[in-house]
């Protein structure tokens, strides 16, 4: 294995640890309150101030400090990423396990539901649901998790289908093990590596989805997310001059997702030797 490949995984891990650290320390790290407008000495709103010593990344059209917003945005990223990934893994893995193990009618019903979930366009659905339920972080998380379990469910099911035919599952059944025991003691640990790989990618997709929903204007107005920063930059027409407002949240978002991918890739490399 080349050092380059493991180096990239290491980079991802370090970056992610940094994001967690920033999120935890956000109130102490951020120089200003991200939701309080800043005024200059003359009492004027500091509208679209370029980066300076006072505002390292400048201010927004509404006179808010970009750096502080960026720092607080890490919290949203982690809340959305982790909550969604856990929900998706719980739903997707269990649906996959149950459909694959029981087969027959149970499988048909659950796979039809999965087909349906694949048939629903994701972002439009999330937008409609959030609009109907009212924009809030929790509703965004529900909207994202409501459909995203589909890939996990399919992949886990196909793994279960092959595991089900393995001798150790039959041996457990012959010995009189209950379905629950076979599913969660025998099969589950064997699909766990794949489920974890999907968790890592789901974190990335969920964060991108939240950013997209916020960018379309359906985000939680009381939270500062990176997607929402871009939304406000766009609707206020500031994208032509205020690069300091548009580049940092977009770059942070991209770096976060890349870091998750790199760590996931490294994990996949360890789990699947063929990809080395």
């Amino acid at each position: 294995m080349s050092p380059f490949a493991s180096w990239s995984g290491g980079f991802g891990a370090i970056f992610l640890s940094l994001v967690v650290l920033i999120a935890v320390l956000a109130p102490w790290l951020s120089p200003y309150d991200p939701l309080v407008n800043n005024f200059d000495a003359a009492g004027q709103l500091r509208r679209l101030a370029p980066p300076s010593a006072a505002h390292l990344l400048g201010t927004t059209y509404y006179g808010l400090d970009v750096l502080s917003q960026l720092i607080h945005g890490t919290r949203i990223v982690l809340i959305v990423g982790i909550t969604c990934a856990v929900l998706i893994a719980l739903i997707g893995t269990n649906i996959g396990l149950i459909a694959g193990y029981y087969g027959g009618r149970v499988d048909t019903v659950l796979m039809r539901a999965t087909d349906l979930a694949f048939g629903v366009p994701f972002i439009p659905f999330a937008v409609v649901l959030v609009a109907l339920l009212g924009p809030s972080l929790w509703n965004t998380i529900i909207a994202i998790s409501f459909l995203m379990w589909r890939s996990t469910a399919r992949v886990i099911r196909s793994q279960v289908l092959s595991l089900r035919e393995r001798g150790f599952v039959k041996a457990a059944r012959i010995a009189g093990a209950s379905d629950m025991r076979i599913l969660y003691v025998h099969i589950f640990p064997n699909v766990l590596p794949m489920a974890l790989l999907y968790v890592s990618f789901d974190i990335a997709w969920a964060v991108l989805a939240e950013a997209s929903i916020s960018f379309l204007g359906f985000g939680d107005p009381h939270q500062t997310s990176w997607g929402q920063m871009l939304y406000l930059a766009y609707v206020s027409g500031s994208i032509r001059q205020a690069w300091w407002w548009t580049v940092p949240p977009g770059a942070a978002l991209s770096l976060f997702v890349i870091a998750v991918f790199l760590v996931g890739r490294e994990y996949e490399r360890l789990a699947n030797p063929r990809l080395r």
């Binding site: 080349s2 380059f4 490949a5 990239s8 039809r112 087909d115 349906l116 694949f118 048939g119 629903v120 366009p121 994701f122 972002i123 439009p124 659905f125 937008v127 409609v128 649901l129 609009a131 109907l132 339920l133 890939s151 990335a204 991108l208 950013a211 997209s212 960018f215 379309l216 204007g217 359906f218 997607g227 871009l230 930059a233 766009y234 994208i239 032509r240 690069w243 548009t246 580049v247 949240p249 977009g250 978002l253 991209s254 770096l255 997702v257 890349i258 991918f261 790199l262 890739r265 063929r274 990809l275």
Partner: protein, 324 residues
């Protein structure tokens, strides 16, 4: 099994999914607090009598299943209702927008898959070389970029700063051709397409690329590739064989990709002010124009389901094993 039998089974499958989708939408849009009589008037301060008359007129007093049958029947026959906002039949508003969407989406999807497969094959074939490792990591990057952010950056750079391309929309209001090629009928639209297509391709190319690459690496280890080499097939023929087999997972993915493409499409249309159904949907949801929102949602979902069917059929055609 004969191909047509497989096709019939898949089609039946799709029909079921479509019906389920209608039920799903029916439930989803009834999550709206209140009923259409109150939404339509914003406040719901309509005299009780008048509300009751409207309910009867719209059949809201009938049992749920009857309402659903009417609803499904209307949608399937193209009767998408009246827009609250435009006060015109929804179909008249949605139809031209749908065409505009296809004008933007088709090149994005086609170019993404073609480029993804070509580059993915190239990378997979060169497995283990330094260029491949760097290429594989570089390919991850665009996948991680939010499409709307790419759009913003492209706009800021190439439209506002360099003024090479228009800042959005599909056609220019007052466009005066300066040279002969600018007089070509599609020139104006093509100019408007460049940036959104670039943004779309950049972000949706990565998945088919990575899938093709992974599949190709796996295929290279298969016994039949060793055997093909033993048979003295030329390097080109071997690569064609590998690409042909490795393409199957990409094909499966392309069904999912169409679903994602509509999501990306919504964002692209908003950023670039493209007059398609994605932007229409976002606007109608914001304006609480539910008949339009519902119609756009239905069209996108129906398109995804139909394309899923087409992909399934193509798969059955390309891989005889799947027909069983």
């Amino acid at each position: 099994m004969a191909f047509w039998l497989y096709a019939a089974r898949r089609a039946a499958h799709t029909a079921v999914t479509l019906v389920l989708l209608l039920v799903f939408m029916y439930v989803l849009f009834r999550l709206v607090p209140g009923d259409p009589t109150t939404i339509m008037l914003g406040t719901g301060e309509l005299p009780f009598e008048a509300q009751q008359r409207l309910r009867e007129l719209w059949g809201l007093d009938r049992p749920q299943w009857q309402q659903f049958v009417t609803y499904a029947g209307n949608l399937l026959t193209g009767d998408l209702g009246m827009s609250f906002y435009f006060r015109r039949p929804v179909i008249e508003i949605v139809w031209p927008m749908l065409l505009n969407t296809l004008v933007l989406m088709t090149p994005v999807v086609v170019i993404s898959i073609v480029l993804g497969v070509v580059i993915g094959t190239w990378l997979g074939w060169r497995r283990g070389e330094r260029i491949e490792e760097i290429g594989a990591i570089l390919a991850l990057i665009p996948r991680a970029l939010p499409v709307f952010w790419i759009g913003i950056v492209l706009l800021a750079l190439f439209a506002y700063e360099l003024r090479w391309f228009p800042i959005g929309g599909m056609r220019q209001a007052f466009f005066f051709p300066e040279t002969w090629y600018q007089e070509l009928p599609f020139f104006d639209v093509a100019r408007h397409l460049v940036l959104p297509v670039a943004a779309g391709v950049l972000t949706s190319m990565a998945d088919p690329l990575m899938i093709q690459r992974t599949a190709l690496i796996e295929v290279k280890h298969e016994d039949f590739m060793t055997h093909a080499r033993a048979r003295g097939l030329t390097e080109r023929a071997q690569r064609r064989l590998a690409r042909r087999t490795a393409f199957l997972p990409v094909l499966t993915y392309s069904a999912i990709m169409v679903g994602f493409a509509f999501g990306g499409q919504v964002l692209l249309e908003v950023v670039f002010n493209w007059p398609g159904i994605g932007r229409l949907m976002v606007n109608s949801v914001s304006q609480r124009d539910y008949p339009v929102a519902q119609a756009t949602f239905f069209l996108m979902a129906a398109a995804v389901v139909t394309l899923n069917l087409l992909v399934d059929l193509a798969y059955g055609w390309l891989d005889p094993r799947i027909r069983q």
